[in-house]
Amino acid sequence: MSPLTTIDLEGLGFEQGAHILIARALESVPAGARLDVHGRDPLLRVHLAAWCRAQGHALEEGQGQGPAGTIVKGRATDERWVGSERAGAPSATGLVDRPGPTWGLAARGALVEAGGHGPVFDLDRRDEVWADVAPRLYAQACASQWDPATAVDWDTPLEHPADVEAAVVQVMTYLVENEQAALVVPARFLGRVHPYFREVVQLLAVQVADEARHIEVFTRRALLHGEMLGVSSSGGRASLGTLLDEPDFSLAAFLLSVLGEGTFLNLLSFLERNAPDPATRAVSRLALADEARHVSFGQAHLEHRVAIDPDFRAQLRAAVERRHHALRDTSGLNEAVFDALVVLAAGAWTPEAIALGCARVQELVADMADGRRRRLVRLGFPIDEADELSALHTRNFM
């Protein structure tokens, strides 16, 4: 298309968007090019002059018949984009190692005007936050969202003994407390991860929403047949508090997702198998599916990180030891929670049932340790070191 030298706006005025047609005509011509503007809007001449002045274009005003004016294109509209650059390519493959300092909140792939002082996102290095599986996990997460109101049948009557129900309530109380921590940790990182790593931000956002839902369903299950929640131990809260103290994204993902939520996969699976009622089994199953995604991302990110920097394993080890050290004066798992798990798995108050429940919980604890060990081995730890680090993990499970 050859550039226009004349444009007829017909009856269109500047209050109705005449500038859009004029700007389009000027887009393809260099500064200094001339454009005759014709039109019938009675305000065209005065508004054309005001618009040209604001845009840095010169105007030769028309007289009588003929054009309302002749625009001589100024330099400013083109100068605005001098030094601009694309914020990378839109795709999640081939990400740059570090987004440009001015990209800020711009969409990945957008043409970014030079200059300006955007918000600072300190987690802006690819290897500090990324995992190639992030886009796929985010898509899965979106497809797997569920509605707490309808995903669980909340109308089932209480059919197990009241003191077994008390054990269920205690376990739910404990789960809520853990999910609060699992919500806060990714939420704190959400505002620090550079938006260029969009899929990581999106995944963290869904993770936060997942935990919000878990808090809701565990609370709702706890109060299904009563009005009181169980107890919260200071040791349990101290253990969770140490998760919030970790400022490094990768180390926090390691402690929370790989070790903590990883351990919870066993716990939720245990509850799904052993809970006395369908509602508890349902909330455990739903949370388990979400937590598995969180563990997958944390694990994949850490595998990426140690693959490019094998020495990072020393920092992982130090993080476990630091947390263990911080917790050495606390009691670990709330005894009431441990006993509640036994009663829940026993389902009755006979010595035989309690013995069976106890055996199942011991089996659970062994499964948890085994799961942690396997994930640590996948991160490249030798088996004996994996055993040792798994054993240092908090007795509070998360």
Binding site: A49, A50, R53, A76, R80, G115, G116
Partner: protein, 287 residues
């Protein structure tokens, strides 16, 4: 006032003034010019300080420019318009009526009510009223003037007076409203005067707006020349100054010119806003 720092006055008509001149100050410093600025609450004191030698330069409204050179002339000193924005050149004020009012000529405004901006607004009060006067319509005698005194002392920099006049026009409280051409376009776009609801009864001739006034006898010539040169060198392609130019409403600084103020000189004389010595003589003007 030290001789090693160029000191400029600016009127704080909006909080963005601080952003703009802080930004320019940093940019000037990067170019090796020591520059600082003083903020004034109104143009009258700024002009008095310029002529009194307390500042070297003043970012002046057109009315302030007229007072500055009248004061300077009376004292036998000199001021010059060193620079102005591209957007300060060739403005036009409009006398706007409702499209359905059946007012086709300026003469139809006899006996009617004309809404104007603040008492000291060149574009929304002094220039359009002088334009009507030149057309044979004496304000207050042939038509009633309804003033919207918002931001008195800011010489019309505050858009509020023009917007209130436009609102009064749409509400039927006045028969005509006076405003700068760009504001008529802005009011149309924002919906204050819906598209098609108004028409332009008459327009003033072209005139110039603000300029960077220098007290040439007082300001160190080397600093002034460097200041002016740097202003004119600012490029819209420079990402550091572009946001500041956007805030200040220009694409490019141009050399100042004195030729675009004759209309306003006439209006100032016609309404006795200042006398020939630059004293404030306007009634009811308390900046």
């Amino acid at each position: 006032m030290g001789g090693d720092v160029l000191l400029m006055g600016a009127v704080a008509y909006d909080p963005k003034v601080v952003t703009i001149w802080d930004g320019f100050r940093a940019w000037f410093a990067g170019q090796g010019l020591a520059f600082d600025y003083l903020l004034y609450s109104n143009y009258e004191r700024q002009v008095e300080d310029l002529i009194g030698g307390r500042i070297h330069a003043a970012w002046n409204s057109p009315l302030a420019w007229i007072r500055a050179h009248r004061l300077a002339d009376a004292l036998g000193t000199h001021v010059e318009a060193a620079a102005m924005r591209d957007s300060d050149c060739d403005l036009r004020s409009l006398i706007v009526v409702r499209a359905d009012a059946g007012l086709d000529t300026l003469d139809a405004l006899r006996g009617r009510v004309v809404g104007v901006g603040a008492v000291d607004s060149p574009q929304a009060t002094l220039l359009p009223l002088a334009h009507l006067r030149d057309a044979g319509l004496e304000p207050g005698r042939d038509f009633e003037v309804r003033r919207f005194d918002i931001g008195v002392g800011l010489h019309g920099d505050h858009i509020g007076g023009e917007r209130e006049a436009a609102r009064a026009l749409m509400a039927g409280e006045v028969d005509a409203a006076c405003m700068i051409d760009a504001n008529h376009l802005a009011f149309g776009r924002e919906g204050t005067t819906p598209t098609g609801s108004t028409t332009v009864l008459s327009a003033t001739a072209l005139y110039d707006h603000c300029n960077m006034t220098i007290a040439t006898d007082r300001a160190p010539a080397v600093l002034v020349e460097r200041f002016r040169g740097l202003l004119l060198s600012m490029s819209y392609a420079d990402p550091e100054v572009r946001p500041l130019l956007d805030l200040e409403g220009l694409k490019q600084w141009r050399p100042g010119r004195r030729t675009g103020y004759a209309q306003l000189e006439g209006a100032v004389g016609a309404f006795a806003f200042y006398d020939e010595q630059g004293r404030v003589t306007a009634d009811n003007y308390r900046p």
